[in-house]
Symmetry: C2
DNA sequence: CGTGTGTAAACTGTTAACAGTTTGCGTTTG
DNA sequence: CAAACGCAAACTGTTAACAGTTTACACACG
């Protein structure tokens, strides 16, 4: 039979398995999170449509989705703007990230597999090396993956979705808090403490370490803000 | 001067201060949360457009927003459906609500005004009466307001937004967990315990009470599920 | 020279029409 | 009689055009 399961992507129509809106939304989100379109900037529907070779309909739909996601703001008859996250809002976001990270650590302390702990430990080791080498970009990336896996292992999909949304929002605060060598070492020491509590099955400590790690992140962030223009 | 501030709603053009998309989105959200459109049901774009006297464009945009909000699911070429929340997902949502409620209670224990505590206490008293009278609808409403104010007083807008989103999602689980007289009394006793810890400024206890209140809600919810079709 | 005004271009909000897919039903066929 | 086929209606995805608002710029005026 030449039948293909309805969900399978046939080799013929490589497109059409998802709507243009979805593709536009993904591309716009990428542009925003990568900083290619900066907070406060306006997004011109027509330009986007022309650039992506679609009409304005899908673009408008995509923008509505991004609005609910908190990445853009729409002003009536005035267009949509990439959202600006104030320092106050960033602090709120840090608090929520801390709350959820603490939850995840507590969960892992209560129930985690040896494989999971080993994977996290390997990442901490890699960050240790990156910190020693002063490799900020490398550290940043592994750090992201570490928190991502941590949330995944915690086994609460809703928690992970919320955490991911918060991380995206964080990117909208102009200050991109860079990791100084000292900050990298400090941050990773906290990672190690989290993992240690998880290994020992110490739920309360794991939770506190997870929360404090993000609080530490907030402090490091505020230091950069206070330092003036930063970076 | 006849000038009107840009934000003020002039008496002439009562409409046009917000887009049709926004109005459609609000109406659809209302229909979904009120249960007039049930989880799993399909939403017909044309019918909605005709019913609200608009074209399909704004309707599609509104649906995209609701999709990101987790209220509907879009299947390509097949339309959008009101999302169905499984019991497992509902449990995850309860966990997150508990986490955030605990956070809010801790915050209020650390810093709250006498007015705020008095307002919350008044609500607990009103729920007490509703519980005694077996007034489920009344209890439900005050309970909603109680948690709403609690989150507002906590002073973290992001936390409140997340909590509100979670409550909306809760409504998508078929089982509408009703408050039996016994459940109402139990639930309100937990409210009182939360408030008591807040009054005493006992941060840790307040947090634990807040979390356990939602855990209690989850248990009451699961009891209804286990009881079969429920009501 | 600065300020206010009017006009035109640009852009958003909305609608209607077109294209392709899914779905339901009646018919045919083994 | 059950299953498969085919056609038609319904619906979604997309596009293009229209209407109204905002914005920018040039010009007149004090």
């Amino acid at each position: 039979m030449l039948d293909t399961p309805p969900g399978s992507a046939g080799p013929i129509d490589i497109v059409r398995t998802q709507s243009l809106t979805t593709l536009v939304q993904r591309e716009l989100e990428r542009l925003i999170l990568a900083g290619e379109v900066k907070p406060g900037e306006r997004i011109n529907e027509q330009h986007v449509a022309q650039r992506l070779q679609v009409s304005r309909g899908p673009v408008r739909e995509a923008l509505r989705g991004l609005e609910r996601a908190g990445l853009v703001e729409a002003r009536v008859n005035r267009g949509v703007y990439v959202r600006e996250v104030s320092v106050e809002q960033a602090v709120e976001i840090y608090e929520m990230r801390g709350l959820i990270t603490g939850f995840a650590c507590a969960r892992l302390a209560a129930a985690s597999t040896a494989d999971q702990r080993a994977e996290l430990a390997a990442m901490v080791a890699r960050m240790e090396r990156a910190a020693a080498d002063g490799d900020q970009a490398g550290y940043y990336e592994i750090n992201l993956a570490f928190h991502d896996r941590l949330m995944q292992f915690a086994g609460n999909a809703r928690a992970k979705a919320m955490y991911d949304a918060l991380v995206k929002e964080s990117h909208l605060c102009r200050r991109r808090s860079l990791f100084s060598p000292r900050n990298m070492a400090e941050s990773n020491a906290e990672h190690a403490a989290m993992l240690d509590a998880i290994r020992r099955g110490d739920v309360d400590t794991a939770r506190r370490m997870g929360e404090e790690h993000i609080v530490g992140g907030r402090r490091r962030f505020l230091d950069v803000v206070a330092a003036g223009t930063g970076s």
